[in-house]
Amino acid sequence: MTEKTPMLVQPARIRRYVGQAVLRAEDECLLRGTGGFLVDIPAPDAAEICVVRSREPHAIVRKICTDRALANPGVIAILTANDLDLVDEVLPCVDMIPGTLDVRHRVIARDRVRYVGQPVALVVAANRYLAEDAAALVEIEYESLPPVTDHMAAMNPGAPLLYPELGTNIVYQVTQVDGNPAFAAREGDLVIRKRFEFHRQTAVPLETRGVTAKLIDNGERLHVESCTQLPQMLRTVLARTLGMGLDRIRVTAPRLGGGFGCKEMVYPEEILVPAVARKLQRPVRWLEDRGEHFASATHAREETVDTEAVVAGDGTFGGLRLSGWANIGAAFGFVGNTPITAMGAMVRGPYRIPNLDARMFSVVTNKTPLNVLRGAGGPQAALVMERLLDEAARKLGIDRAEIRRRNLLHPNELPLDRGRTGFANAYHIIYDEADYPRCLEAGLGLADYANCERDRKEAAARGKLRGMGISMYVEITAVGPYETARITLQPDGTILLFSSIMPVGQGSETTQRQLVAEELGIAMEQVAIRQGDTDEVPDAVGTFASRGASVGGAVGRMAARELVSNILNCFAAELACDAAALRWEGGGVIGPEPTEEFIPLAEIPARLALLRGEQEPQKIEARYRLEVPKPSYAYATHIAVVEIDPETGRLEIPRYTVAHDCGKVVNPLLVEGQIVGGVVQGIGAVLRERLVYGSQGDLQTGAMMDYVLPAASDVPADFRLWHMETPTSFNPFGMRGVGEGGSIGAHAAVANAVADALRDYDVAVDGSGPFTPAWIMEAVNRPLRAGLGQDRAPHP
């Protein structure tokens, strides 16, 4: 079943900002080093907090003794669960569909710890040095319980239970079906069965987390600052957990030094630090260091997926059956069940595959809680699909580009309802307008796919194994359920936009200002923007799921449109005429006939004051709430070339190609930045990044040199990028999100390129690796693939 929504009518105007590579005004303070991150906000009176964290992966907490620690110099207080006057201790999870067991994260451990890094006590001291000294002296008596870290093992009978009262470690399940879920293979069909493994990753924004809290307004209100993508959600949770009215809490979030999903969370520390401030009646601050970040900031991506694909002899996929299990760690992340749900929801990507039976599960283990990370399950879904396609191509002797052509949905099949999903908003996955075949051809052409075999031979002559990998994906972006914005024409004639979107590096401030300036027909310099303060923006959904420009920008623009309407009504009232006799053009009001006087925006407050006989100009405000019933979907073709040195296991990516569609591009400079940044993150993820737990539940990767991020040497030297803009009727301005796609496509493209480079070896590329030198060395020392030359897929 499909439906078409008419596009909002675009006012005819000369484009001034949309589509322009406007430089970011916010760069000035960032380049001068006055960015105003949380760590830079002066807090001269604040005591510093050090969080005492569990070193046990799974244990009963028998006793906490703080005597020695309290006696240490500079210690102000040491607090545990009972000292904090918490009314409610549960942190939110928004993807708990009916039937989900309640393993929401608790604010602080009481009788049981379930992962290394879980907060157990808080040391408050004069500074961080002294706080850490005291923390080392806090004595905690644990009764160790057997840990379980492997999610597949956690489902076995007899496995240690994290929540014995639940009787199981499987806490969430969701199905996604389409067509005939009981589909079966027919005679002549190829059936491919594969198990995919996705390793554990983490976001590693350069800015670690931090929270400050102090009492304000004569002690009546609590002001909390936090590095969060969700300041409004945090305020709601604080009110609930601390038992305070919403109006007594103010949350402000400064600009973030990266988030990537790990700051799309309500963390224990964000409740604990304010609770301490309230208890001690003094300002306090907690700044996370990198060591604790690896253990206590949310993890991502770890899952196992069993698949069965039924493919006809011509390469068309008839159906896909899969089971997926996510290792969600010890408790729910804010959107902890989303990535595994996305597997079923998005695995088919741009491909028709009419029949689907997908069952997804979340399994708790004694690891740090799992949440989203750039792509939110999309990378895993795309990798599964794209590896299955290449495998089918190889077995059937069909060219890899051709097999994709045969399966792609065509524009005339869209919009298309792909079925009901388990996502929290319980919407259907309805693909909007798109041209996937054109996107594929553009990518293939740009990547010079036609010469990939020639290039492979040339590389072989240099002793290198070269491969090219194709991937396509469709990504849910611009999600709802709604978003709000408030805009003011200030008394001084400038515009101030109050936005619901947090700047995390994506340039949201610039993008929104471009949209507002274009809507009003004024210069961008006249538009200022503020965000992150719940006193100014009390209600917002937040920053995630690539919705900053597409939804945040859209609602800002709609608010500006509403402002225009309000301004015209003001003038109509003062001029005693019908609002229809006025119009907005060229950045101002055009008065009624016969004079048709033009009053530019900057002069409007003064002019209205004059008309009203008032001394002081007043501000004019507008608010808008944009309902977003259907997300729009971005898509792209990613093509990676890898070259492997079999003697050293070294892998390089000499060329990377992206052909993508994010709908209407507001700022091509920023769009390109998001794509390249996302691709390099994806490259890092599949080449080296890996969180490692020992068998005893100890986190072994706890430092920057352990968890190896991509560096400047990793960006492909030959990076080819191409946009297409297919308007989408699902977004009022035809926008799709772009922040995450780079990461989604890169996992699959690089995996396929590695598989292609190693096609002569009997090695399975069934997951995200990582494809470290050791992995590669092991692969190239395996026997050659049996039947070489017989089932090799023809290439262009």
């Binding site: 961080r128 040095y129 850490e132 000294d133 080392a136 260091d289 990198r290 060591g291 003697e647 050293t648 296991g649 070294r650 080296r688 490692v692 072994q700 990767t701 430092a703 040199m705 352990d706 190896v708 991509p710 560096a711 040497s713 990793d714 470290t772 030198p773 050791a774 060395m777 092991e778 020392n781």
Partner: protein, 302 residues
């Protein structure tokens, strides 16, 4: 990640530093560049009662050359040695290896001798010290100084055999002979990260144009670096153009490791043992390119 308390002392002389080391009975730590010590103190994986800064001790900043060797004092920083014309001319293997150590922003502070003392697995400078027959000048309690060859220092499976409560005041490296070639090759996850394996090699031909003298030192494959003496012997007297002999020597160099191949977060022992073969072969080939192929080379030092 803040260090626990300690007392900081600027040692006035090297002897003063050793005296304090002894007085603290093993709880004091020498501070030169601090690029290993300070992060460890911050992470509290190590502690110190006293941190002894030796960077101002007279004489430790000296870089000198005598007959056949170059001596680097304990306070000489890595970046200075990397750029020093004397080092580039007389011990170019060290200069090249230094360009692989960490990153320029760390080499600005770290010292060459500090690397030797720290002896991290896979560290480049200890590997070079084996290839260049280095001697460490050690100062112990009571002012006694003596030499310790690098091969003795790194003879244990992990760590060093340096005496407790001693200070390396300088290290001397064999100067490049006329016509001697050198090569250094490192396998790493990416630039700026540790060595997974690395190899330092030197080659000198005799008057018949055959390999008269060769050094092959391997690091990272095992926790301690070692000289691949069997591989060296296999090459003596061979023609330097013999590629298959070089490959064979590389294979022997990996296999003759005195300790098990190292597995850690970043790579398996199996990987390291194979990558080491490539590292040795490539270091030898670089050395070959650089060595003078003309017979009549003497043992005259450059």
């Amino acid at each position: 990640m803040k260090p626990a308390k300690f007392r900081y002392v600027r040692a006035e002389t090297a002897a003063h530093a050793v005296e304090l080391l002894c007085a603290e009975e093993g709880r004091a730590k020498i501070l030169a560049g601090g690029q290993s010590l300070i992060p460890a103190l911050s992470a509290r994986t190590t502690s110190a009662s006293v941190v002894l800064d030796i960077m101002r001790c007279p004489g430790l900043e000296v870089l000198s050359q005598t007959e056949g060797e170059v001596t680097i004092g304990a306070a000489c920083r890595q970046f200075q040695m990397e750029r020093s014309p004397l080092v580039q001319h007389s011990i170019p293997l060290l200069s090249e290896a230094l360009s692989w150590v960490a990153m320029p922003q760390v080499r600005s502070r770290g010292t060459v001798v500090g690397c030797l003392a720290q002896a991290n697995a896979g560290a480049e400078v200890p590997v070079v010290s084996l290839a260049l027959d280095a001697q460490f000048q050690i100062l112990v309690r009571g002012g006694e100084r003596y030499q310790m060859p690098a091969q003795d220092v790194y003879a244990a499976a992990t760590g060093t055999r340096l005496p407790a409560e001693s200070l390396i005041v300088s290290a001397s490296f064999r100067s490049r002979a006329v016509g001697e070639g050198w090569g250094f090759y490192e396998v790493q996850l990416r630039p700026g990260h540790f060595a997974l394996v690395c190899c330092a090699a030197t080659l000198l031909l005799d008057q018949n144009g055959r390999i008269g003298s060769v050094r092959i030192a391997l690091g990272g494959l095992t926790a301690s670096p070692y000289r691949a003496e069997r591989a060296e012997k296999a090459l003596l007297g061979e023609s330097v153009e013999n590629d298959s002999m070089i490959d064979e020597a590389a294979r022997i160099a990996s296999e003759e490791r005195p300790w098990p191949a190292r597995t850690d977060l970043h790579a398996t022992g199996a990987f390291r043992s194979k990558a080491a073969v490539a590292a040795v072969a490539r270091a030898l080939m670089d050395a070959r390119v650089r060595c003078s192929r003309h017979p009549g080379a003497t043992n005259e030092r450059a």
